[in-house]
């Protein structure tokens, strides 16, 4: 690939442009908002101009609802020899593309599984896709040349291609992204009219469950609308479980206790399946969660406390997979939880204790008692 055009220089488009520019590709930047293309050019993503002749690949980084018309216009003016997109839904835009009579041989859909809470070209970075999965969703009519052009884009961005049909892709993101967003919104919506004293009891659990519900409602409206049927299917199954849970709780409320009755069983069933579902989720490195353990270290809440702790940790040479900091709400003290391999946990605890610190190892190594 020697030349490319990025249409839509937001976070994703600009990050792709940065990655390609870094690999020596000549990148042309196009956006409805000229300032967005100029900003992307200013951070080194390429040239804010229409290409003088057809480029090897055009990346259409526009919202799902605009993809088909953007592709039709681009093909009409001969922007590129091959085209791809980055939209987070695939089936409906593909149907629109077929309906509009676009040339299907030169198009292969794509969806890099990366993003960020921030948007716009200034949040872009060349390594945004490094090590990530990038869904490749060609049409049966897609030419081999077009598919190869997108494969080399994925490789140049440091990502891993995963071929999925549009409907397969949409079912997957409905399950692991769109339905969870909706569930977070539904729970967060219950907090809107909570009393101050109710809110004062909120802890880390409810914060985690609802965190993603803070996302831009219009952006999520677009995403959910474009994948509406599949998300509705996923939420309908969840609604059936929810009905069962409510019935079980009403049953338990009425005083009909005993672990073997229907109420108890239905509730325990969802709790157990929830545990099983959590165990399916990979941690950040794609390894099952169970292969990491937590070491807990109490710390004070003063400037530099974390620096001193991490300096001690650095001296141990143990790699930290994740960090979770839990301050007490008032003041003085909190704990830092460090996610490490089991071998790392031993070395870390021993070394931190050598530095005069308290380090509480994984629960597996401790006897378990009631309450």
């Amino acid at each position: 690939m020697r030349s490319a055009a990025v249409v839509g220089t937001g976070l994703i488009g600009t990050s792709i442009a940065l990655a390609l520019s870094a690999r020596g590709v000549i990148v042309y930047l196009v956006d409805q908002e000229p300032m967005a293309a100029l900003t992307a050019a200013a951070v080194g993503a390429g040239r804010a101009e229409e290409p003088p002749e057809a480029v090897d690949l055009a990346i259409l980084a526009v919202p799902p609802a605009e993809l088909a018309t953007t592709l039709a216009q681009a093909q009409k003016r001969g922007l590129a020899r091959a085209y791809t997109d980055v939209a987070s839904v695939k089936a409906r835009p593909m149907a629109d593309i077929v309906d509009l009579g676009c040339d299907l041989t030169s198009f292969a859909g794509g969806h890099p599984m990366a993003g960020g809470e921030r948007s716009g070209p200034l949040a872009a970075r060349a390594n945004l896709f490094e090590g990530r999965v990038w869904i490749l969703s060609p049409h049966p009519a897609t030419s081999e040349q077009a598919q190869q052009a997108v494969e080399s884009l994925i490789e140049m961005c440091g990502a891993y291609p995963l071929v999925m049909r549009p409907d397969e892709h949409d079912a997957a993101v409905a399950l692991v992204s769109h339905a969870p967003h909706m569930v977070a919104s539904l729970m967060a919506a219950r907090l809107e009219h909570a009393t101050e004293s109710q809110i004062s009891l909120a802890g880390q659990g409810v914060r985690d469950v609802t965190r993603i519900a803070a996302g831009d409602p219009w952006l999520w409206f677009d995403i959910l609308s474009a994948n509406a049927g599949t998300v509705a299917d996923s939420l309908t199954e969840l609604a059936r479980d929810l009905e069962g849970v409510i019935a079980a709780l009403r049953h338990l409320e009425s005083g009909a206790e005993g672990e073997s009755d229907g109420g108890a069983e239905a509730l325990l069933d969802v709790l157990n399946r929830g545990v099983a579902g959590c165990e399916r989720l990979p941690n950040k490195h794609g390894t099952p969660k169970a292969s990491y353990v937590t070491v807990t270290v109490p710390v004070g809440d003063q400037p530099g406390e974390l620096a001193r702790l991490f300096a001690d940790i650095g001296a141990t040479g143990v790699n930290i997979e994740d960090v979770f900091i839990d301050h007490d709400p008032g003041k003085t003290t909190g704990v830092v939880e460090l996610l490490v391999t089991p071998e790392g946990a031993d070395a870390l605890s021993r070394n931190l204790k050598g530095h005069g610190r308290i380090a509480i190892g994984p629960p597996e190594s401790q006897p378990s008692f009631r309450m």
Copy 2:
């Protein structure tokens, strides 16, 4: 308070015992499992024996369903002059206590809003309650002496008392703890039979939404059963919104688009109320979230990388409220997000750039573009 008895030396009971022992109170440790009491004694929480005479306060740190019988037995043998509990539900255990004919004048219920993912006496720490809210839930018949004994317990543990009626308390924890747990379980349950390729697309969002669903199903069954009616009420409201969302999605799926129609409105309504709900949640220091901003710093994934970063941060003197680490799944690089005050963000970004680092400031300071 000169003497106390802790009945049930799990995480909460032992942490209370540690806090009281540190303040010079003579603490007697009692548990159905003699090993649990001996372990608590071994970590310095007190004496693993029955008190020779009535103590000033007995803390009954047993499961909600066992509270009433534990109190009745303790009062029968004259264990203490005043009694409290730490159960995470209040109304049903209080009803059981009244039903069993316990002496209500010497009892004032309590619930410290603290805990941990680990259980048992070895996970205990004296500062577990420092700066936390501790619900105080006296009965109308509770004597002033009994209430004062519990108030001084709360003070000695470094917590803040918040008086709530049992039903008020249970409605609050249903909303901010029990319903969120159930929602997390319902979402996680959907992942149990996900395909490997679906799971491969899972990111941080769904991990956060489902994290607490990994909790002990039997413990949560006990908690949810004891607060069944109130949790069912909360989930029934959520189920109504969920029904509306599913209907809206079906409407949007059928192709009836346009922002002013019922489908779009109902979906946007829940998304917007979700955002409003998130804004109600305090961050860890009880300050509205909006008063902190995020600074993002790219880092490598090598031992010592975090230590070097935190050493640089320590040198700036800026206090970090929270840290979020996002590794790329494959290897090499990731980003660290630092939650700081707006003033802190400026100082931090400037200083880190002075150390040759890239530091991306809060989104407010960046222009926003589409996609």
